[in-house]
Symmetry: C2
Subunit: 342 residues, 2 copies
DNA sequence: CTGAAAGCGCTTACAG
DNA sequence: CTGAAAGCGCTTACAG
């Protein structure tokens, strides 16, 4: 394999000149530049990434920590991963991926051994075990998901509180007075999935302020349990006219549950979910939903991370906590409530 | 950040001794080993991966090339990725992930710059553009998916021909005489998705040998097109009693299509799909299916790749092409055909 | 059982 | 505008 030394020899210059000719970091005569370029082409030279990393202290690699936890819905995670990966590539970075459920070990390995210039954490919990490790690392980190303590990291998330209010408000204005909110499984909450109760609390407050009834339930994140639970829930709340779904698996399962019961939205029930448009397409979900914007969040996280890595944001400059505002994508699943007894 | 030099100094030994004490590559006195270990602990030393890679010519990283093509079904890809990633980690390797649609550039970058010790290619086409690059690389490669030319690489795939035969056979034995096979979109075939016609051709041969009718159609890989196509297909073939689905998106869409038409399997129609059990759970698909074994294929590919990387298989030793035999997971969606006129 | 030294392939002050 | 040299942090023959 050709090295910069080979290039220098073939071009008839010193190694440093060859290096500078390639990096453009100092003025080079036209003649030399051309000879170096020819040498590179004829030798099919590519710099050794490890050697470059050692010399420059930069790897041009971003660590991506995606935890696939047993009770979360994998296809939803994929969207975030692709948002991060695509943006990183655009900005010249590769992705080192860790998918194990125990992200702490992988995070420590990546940062301590300096395999990465920075790190993106997905699926961040309220008290995320990975955060102390990240804060102790010399590399900057960006999160998708809001932890309790945001110090030392840049944080991006959907505004789940506003989402909860928006969902309730929307149905309230259409005339609904009894709603049910389906959240992620309790396990997710216990593990610190703060977004679950952020949305839930805000929804309850909004319902209270408007004097309407909101019941919240947790549902499983996989079939067939989630289907059964949805069915049981419809039995238990026969007078509810609106369904708010903050649980991707439940959203994916809902169409067949409604079908089986001969129900359709918005005729019998108004439904608002919270997932991405891409997700809706993949699962062919016919429900209006608040866009969860995984690609946009991934993109924002990587952009900010790269700005930090490349020193475009001063080390003293405060870290950001940025919320994406919920946008409702109307798929026609909301309407006036069915009239009682109809 | 602590270096091996710091460790050596604190332990009162030379750098080489410190290195050997950690690698265990030569005999070390008990006393020295202990002092080195203490120094490592007190300094919180972790080797610099780039420096180690430069010295050893090994990165302990495997490249994973996952192409997310516009007309393929992303959640199915995820399964393969996780199979690869999990196995790599077990064997001590990290994953460098490339998700761009143009895998050739990423592959070249990873191999030429020596960021990886080996590479796994997912979603391999019959004439895969990435293969010439992979063959020219010094790193070994393993494929999930069978290309026309398997030289120079280890190949793992589901036995799609046997799968086609099995599907036809199963329904034939139950008494079916008119079947429809739903494949991936034509684009996938044109791009070289050889598995599509491998299954299809074998199914046709099997049908011919048994004197039964098999119609094959291509269907889109996303909603709502695929739903409409499935519906049109049921209209066009009213006398068909069996449906073979070699298209994940079609399988995911089928339950609602059947529902809308008031059909159920196996009462009105016998259905056999081809996807993983995990996939069936995620999408709550009630159809019997041939297990596509993404985790197993990913695992096999990584295992063999690591054996090559680590020289446990001689460089002269021939490359393997290994097929996973199809196994039918019975979810009760096949039965005797409905009697004509019933 | 241990150490001094060379080398992996880059980049970048330093000197001219 | 260019070159000789040091250095990044490891590993591993070579020598004792």
């Amino acid at each position: 394999m050709a090295t910069i030394g080979d290039v220098a020899r073939v071009a008839g210059v010193s190694r440093s000149t060859a290096s500078y000719a390639l990096s453009g970091k100092r003025a080079i005569s036209e003649d030399v530049r051309r000879r170096v370029e020819e040498a590179v082409a004829s030798l099919d030279y590519t710099p050794n990434a490890g050697a470059r990393a050692l010399a420059t202290n930069q790897t041009m690699v971003i660590g991506l920590l995606a935890q696939f936890l047993p009770d979360e819905f994998a296809p939803a995670m994929l969207q975030y991963m692709l948002g991060v990966s695509d943006t990183a590539r655009e900005l010249g970075y590769d992705i080192l991926l860790a998918t194990d459920a125990d992200g702490t070990r992988s995070l420590r390995r990546m940062t301590d051994s300096r395999m990465v210039d920075g790190v993106v954490l997905l699926n961040v919990a309220d008290q995320d075990e990975r955060l102390p490790i990240l804060r102790a690392a010399r590399q900057p980190g960006a999160l998708v998901g809001l932890p309790e303590d945001c110090s030392g990291v840049d944080v991006f998330d959907l505004d789940f509180e506003e989402t909860g209010r928006l969902m309730v408000d929307r149905l309230y204005r259409l005339g609904h007075r009894e709603l049910v909110l389906v959240s992620q499984p309790e396990h997710v909450v216990e593990r610190g999935g703060a977004y679950v109760w952020r949305l839930q609390n805000a929804a309850h407050e909004a319902a209270k302020a408007r004097g309407i009834t909101l019941t919240s339930v947790h549902a499983a994140s996989s079939q067939p349990a989630v289907g059964r639970e949805l069915s049981a829930l419809l039995d238990a709340h026969p007078s509810a006219t609106g369904l708010l779904i903050n649980n991707e698996a439940a959203a994916a399962a809902l169409p067949s549950v409604l079908h089986e019961r001969g129900l359709s939205a918005p005729r019998d029930l108004s439904v608002i979910g919270r997932y991405s448009d891409e997700f809706a397409r993949t699962f062919s979900l016919p429900f209006s939903s608040v866009e969860s914007a995984p690609d946009r969040l991934g993109r924002m996280a990587v952009r900010q991370l790269v700005r930090r890595i490349e020193g475009q944001v001063g080390p003293g400059e405060p870290h950001v906590v940025r919320f994406v505002s919920p946008e409702l994508v109307d798929r026609g699943s909301t309407g006036a409530p069915r009239t009682a007894g109809a």
